[in-house]
């Protein structure tokens, strides 16, 4: 652990700690900033005084550049935050960019920014999944407009796949929402899946925080029902909606089995025209099958409703269900407990990312390369190599 972090963590003032070390506060701040390297005795003293948490390595290996904020930057950041609070779209847009950025400096700024947020449990975070073409965007468009008319502020996040070959992507195709996109109480932001280490999708929950800070109280996260992202999205929302087509069976739906099991509400969309009948049949089938499903978030049977996003029918039932769902969960504290555990999950997710970052960093180190050679030549077992590398990381 860095000395500075330790002092913050233990809430020890620099001055106090300097006294304990018997050095001047100025010298201490030089050690902290990395301008100077402490003598051996001092290093040992620090090690002892910090319960062994701050070791000599924490001083010399400056892998992460230290973007310490000066006063001006702190002020800038506060202003930035104020802009977000006052509803500036530009700053909200930029904040999400910072969160998604692969640049270390941006990461640090975004973390500082997020630290200023007060958090908000008045919002409802809604995940939406379903196969391509089931009508997710149309649903969000019509349902979102309805909520805006009720006085809500609606934001939509979506992750578009980046090309594996070029890394570029087409954005916004999946989130074509014509009325919503021009409404001043709506904010739509598609993001490319490439970019940040581990995928921008991993950063969506931070983007949600930004939107909430800017006063958006309904957050939709659109995702496709075919890939991996569903579990990730499930873990960042309060309620997870699965949209289905009016057709029988999961196989016909082309949707993964596990996904139905994550549903907090099943919506059969396109219940209009010729499809209305078969939508009703599908609804009945799923209602019957629902008892078998392990309900994860709510103790009652999960709802199965039909709607037509095109004709804007059936939304009252959807909204009633969502409100009831949230209400029950708020009353028994499940709502806040889950948000907290999501927060912890997010933290572990970030730890995971950090570790992966480390691993990626050291994989080009000389000694690792030599290790690899030895492993290939059978001079060294895989397991010993693992031990050596992890020891190295732990020491750092």
């Amino acid at each position: 652990m860095k000395l500075q972090d330790y002092l913050r963590f233990r809430r020890i003032k620099n001055k106090t700690f300097a006294k304990l070390l018997n050095i001047s506060p100025v010298s201490l701040s030089r050690y902290i900033s990395g301008e100077r390297f402490p003598e051996k005795e001092i290093l040992i003293k620090i090690h002892n005084l910090t319960e062994g948490l701050v070791s000599p390595n924490d001083f010399c290996l400056q892998d992460e550049k230290n973007y310490d904020f000066n006063e001006n930057q702190e002020i800038e950041l506060k202003k930035f935050h104020q802009h977000i609070l006052s509803g500036s779209r530009k700053h909200l847009g930029k904040a999400i960019t910072l969160i998604e950025s692969s640049r270390e400096k941006d990461q640090i700024i975004s973390e500082k920014l997020l630290e200023l947020f007060k958090g908000n449990d008045k919002s409802i975070r809604i995940g939406i999944t379903g196969v391509p073409g089931v009508g997710k965007s149309t649903f969000i468009e019509s349902f979102g407009m309805k909520l805006i008319r009720k006085g809500f502020k609606v934001a939509v996040l979506a992750v578009d796949p980046s090309s594996r070959f070029s890394g570029g992507s087409i954005l916004g195709d999946k989130t074509r929402m014509e009325k919503l996109s021009v409404n001043k109480n709506a904010f739509i932001r598609p993001s490319p899946s490439s970019g940040h280490l581990g995928g921008v999708a991993k950063r969506t929950s931070e983007s949600i925080l930004c939107l909430e800070e800017a006063g958006f109280n309904i957050i939709f996260v659109e995702t496709m029902g075919v890939g991996q992202a569903e579990t990730e999205v499930y873990d960042m929302v309060d309620i997870f909606l699965v949209l289905l087509l009016p057709a029988g069976g999961d196989e016909l739906q082309g949707i993964k089995k596990g996904i139905i099991e994550m549903a907090d509400l099943i919506i059969v969309n396109k219940a209009d025209g010729e499809l209305k009948k078969s939508a009703e049949i599908t609804q009945r089938e799923y209602k019957n099958a629902i008892h078998i499903i392990d309900k994860s978030r709510i103790s009652q049977d999960i709802g199965v409703v039909i709607c037509s996003s095109l004709n804007q029918c059936g939304f009252d039932n959807v909204w009633k269900y969502i409100l009831k769902f949230i209400d029950i969960r708020k009353k028994n504290n499940d709502f806040i407990n889950e948000r907290n555990s999501q927060k912890i999950n997010r933290m572990w997710g970030l730890v995971d990312l950090k570790v992966k970052g480390f691993v990626k960093n050291i994989s080009s180190r000389k000694f690792v390369e030599e290790l690899l050679k030895d492993v290939k030549k059978n001079n060294l077992s895989v397991y010993r190599a693992v031990k050596m590398i992890s020891n190295y990381i732990i020491k750092k």
Binding site: K90, I96, T97, S163, G168, I170, G172, F187, R189, S194
Partner: protein
């Protein structure tokens, strides 16, 4: 006569070729048809079509027995701009100089059913066609042109009911009885959803409108073509010839069925259906396409058991391809148009439009329009090609090619049949996607210099020519239209207007004939916008949900230094900025030319950009909002219908108002060089005109960023 032996030829050909292989002389067309270097009588022994005789089923050789030997094709030049008065003058000038039939181009506000005073059309009034708000404008448009004698073709699809109603009302005003009106209404809504983008209502009510018109005209206007089933726009949007052929015939089938469902007899309307092809530079392919189309259509109609053989005959209008014409070295376009016109004529067209050489710059001037017209007059009056009917019939190559086209097109038609017809296929986006693939492939070939365009990617001119262009002061036109509208609304009896508008709404809800009621409404001075509005209340306004393709450009563009330089540029950018360069590609106003925008979007994504795609018909404010929310680095405006002078300043203002002038703006599309400096003064970073090489543009954009 000695019997030929193909082996003898192969031997001597191989001798001439020396090291080269004979296979290297084979050519694969963009349609995937393998063309051999030599055709012989063996190639026409087994054909998939019947050749027959002109004027007789299956009409492969032409719908009339005597074709041009008796009467040449009709020279019909598509035109319209500014106000009705201005266009009227232009028509009269043409008619004095060899034009034989009129063809009206409406402005985009009219196309989309908006009156000139609507807020969404500030940049569209009178710009890319003539502004028509009511029967009064229609009266001015045909002032001094007797509709009893003049055949008038009208390119109108979205607002087809109100506009045709105004036309009929205007004819009646002139004293021409309704049954004497001659001409064509395009009325082909399916290809609007596919490529032309001037739809208004969703597909279902739109198809009802088509049927209403076929029904009305078949009963009351026997000399009027109720529909012009158009492949033209598909080829212009990027379709190859097989796609153009197949999708057009598939559209035709859909219209046949819609009319039959109305209870009409096939012989009541089939003879009044007409077609419309684009004729590009692939000379023989175009001729083969026209002949294959006539054969295939007769086969299609035959299944409905017509008694009148005229029901089987395909009559067509043709236009030379606009997209083959270039901004660079623009006089070359005269030559291209001549070649294309010749193909149209040898293919047996009934009427023809030839483009002007300034096609890629602006609407034609009097001078460029004259050359375009004369191109046809020279072909018809100086060359002697009119004297023999269908002179290419029996050509080994041509007949064999025709046969291949029949086979290939039938494959595509089956694909459409399999999903349940064209309306379904369009809903699923199949034809649009296929066409966009072809368009991306072609661009990749042009950018890689595999497909040569003289003066653009080879033999480039060293000096720039200055070309005079027609420039329209659309602000002035709009103000004029608005004041006329205000006048009209003051002078007409608004109670009667309300009564008819309500009736239109009622008929839209029920199942009366919309054209019939709108003729009454038009006579009583209801405007195009009001009639459309009444229908819109019932039908709603359609929005397109189309997806952008990806990977096709990237796969087909040859990697070279340019491409690898883009890669390094982008990598550097990511290191500096923490993400890929992100560009929003926008289409503002009613301009529906989306080929370029779609191409730029898909190609730039394939080159490694993150691309946001705006919807069609955005306002500048909406575009700015999207750019800001998505925090893009740059907005790429694609503009082809002359709206740039109005819309780009508004966009830049909207960005400034939101304190977002950090977002760069570039423009592309049909922008006359005369306008570049104004755009730069406004703060536009760069303008990319027609013929832009995409990898080069990408590098320039990286430099801007």
């Amino acid at each position: 006569m000695s019997k030929i032996n193909i082996k003898d030829w192969i031997n001597s050909a191989e001798k001439e070729l020396k090291e080269k292989k004979l296979e290297e002389l084979f050519w694969e067309t963009p349609e995937g048809i393998k063309v051999k270097p030599l055709y012989t009588e063996d190639d026409i022994k087994q054909l998939n079509h019947e050749i027959g005789l002109p004027g007789l089923p299956p009409y492969t050789r032409g719908p009339r027995a005597t074709m041009y030997a008796n009467r040449p094709w009709t020279i019909r030049q598509y035109a319209g701009f500014s106000t009705a008065e201005e266009s009227n003058k232009f028509y009269k000038e043409g008619l004095k100089n060899g034009v034989m039939g009129l063809s009206v181009a409406f402005d985009l506000a009219t196309h989309r059913g908006y009156d000139s005073d609507h807020q969404r059309v500030v940049a569209d009034v009178g710009n890319a066609g003539v502004a028509i708000d009511s029967v009064e404008d229609m009266n001015k448009l045909f002032d001094g042109i007797p509709l009893e004698k003049m055949s008038v073709s009208m390119t109108m699809n979205g607002a087809v009911i109100p506009v045709l109603a105004c036309f009929i009302a205007s004819g009646l005003n002139q004293g021409c009885p309704i049954e004497k009106l001659t001409g064509t209404i395009q009325n082909d809504i399916l290809k609007e959803f596919m490529v032309r983008n001037t739809f208004i209502f969703p597909p279902e009510p739109s198809m009802r409108i088509v049927a209403d018109i076929i029904e009305f005209t078949s009963k009351k206007m026997p000399k009027f073509n109720s529909i012009s089933i158009s492949g033209y726009h598909m080829q212009e949007a990027g379709a190859n010839q097989v796609q153009e052929l197949a999708y057009t015939l598939a559209d035709g089938k859909e219209y046949l069925e819609a009319a039959l469902k109305r209870g009409l007899d096939i012989d009541d309307f089939a003879p009044r259906l007409s077609f419309f092809w684009s004729i590009g530079m692939n000379f023989f392919m175009e001729i083969a396409k026209m002949r294959a189309a006539r054969f295939m259509w007769s086969e299609i109609v035959k299944k409905f058991n017509p008694k009148n053989s005229r029901s089987l005959a395909l009559r067509t209008h043709c236009q030379t391809s606009g997209v083959s014409l270039m901004e660079q070295d623009a006089y070359n376009n005269i030559v291209r148009t001549t070649v294309e016109a010749m193909a149209a004529v040898l293919g047996g067209t009934q009427s023809l439009h030839t483009n002007s050489f300034d096609e890629a710059l602006a609407l034609p001037t009097n001078f460029s329009a004259r050359i375009a017209r004369n191109t046809q007059l020279i072909l018809s009056e100086e060359t002697g090609i009119t004297n023999v009917i269908d002179p290419l019939a029996g050509s080994y190559y041509l007949e064999s090619l025709t046969s291949s086209m029949v086979v290939e097109a039938n494959k595509l038609i089956s694909e459409i049949d399999d999903v349940g017809g064209m309306v379904k296929a369009i809903e699923m986006g199949i034809p649009k996607m296929r066409i966009e693939e072809s368009s991306a492939k072609r661009q990749a070939k042009v950018d890689s210099e595999e497909q040569i365009i003289v003066g653009v990617n080879k033999y480039k001119p060293t000096e720039k020519q200055d070309i005079n262009i027609l420039s329209i002061d659309n602000d002035k036109v709009r103000k004029k239209q608005i004041s006329a509208l205000n006048e009209l609304k003051k002078s007409r009896d608004n109670k009667i207007v309300d009564k008819y508008i309500n009736k239109v709404e009622e008929v839209a809800k029920g199942n009366g004939n919309l054209l019939e009621i709108c003729i009454e409404a038009a006579k009583n001075f209801c405007t195009v916008g009001e009639m459309t509005g009444a229908m819109e209340k019932v039908f709603g306004r359609h929005t397109l949900s189309s997806k952008t393709i990806s990977g096709v450009y990237g796969k087909n563009v040859k990697s070279n230094e340019k491409i690898s330089s883009i890669n390094t540029h982008i990598q550097n950018f990511i290191d500096r900025k923490g993400r890929r360069p992100r560009m929003l590609v926008v289409k503002m106003g009613q301009d529906g030319h989306d080929r370029g925008a779609k191409l730029i979007a898909t190609a730039f994504a394939d080159l490694g950009f993150d691309i946001d795609v705006g919807p069609l018909f955005q306002t500048p404010d909406e575009a700015a909002k999207q750019a800001i929310e998505n925090d893009v680095h740059i907005i790429g405006v694609s503009t082809l219908a002359a709206g740039h002078k109005t819309l780009v300043p508004l966009l830049i203002k909207a960005l400034k108002n939101n304190d977002a002038d950090g977002i760069k703006v570039i423009c592309g599309g049909v922008i006359p060089p005369q306008d570049y400096s104004d755009l730069y003064k406004l703060g536009v970073s760069k303008v990319f005109g027609p013929g832009t090489n995409i990898p080069e543009a990408a590098i320039e954009i990286m430099d801007i960023l």
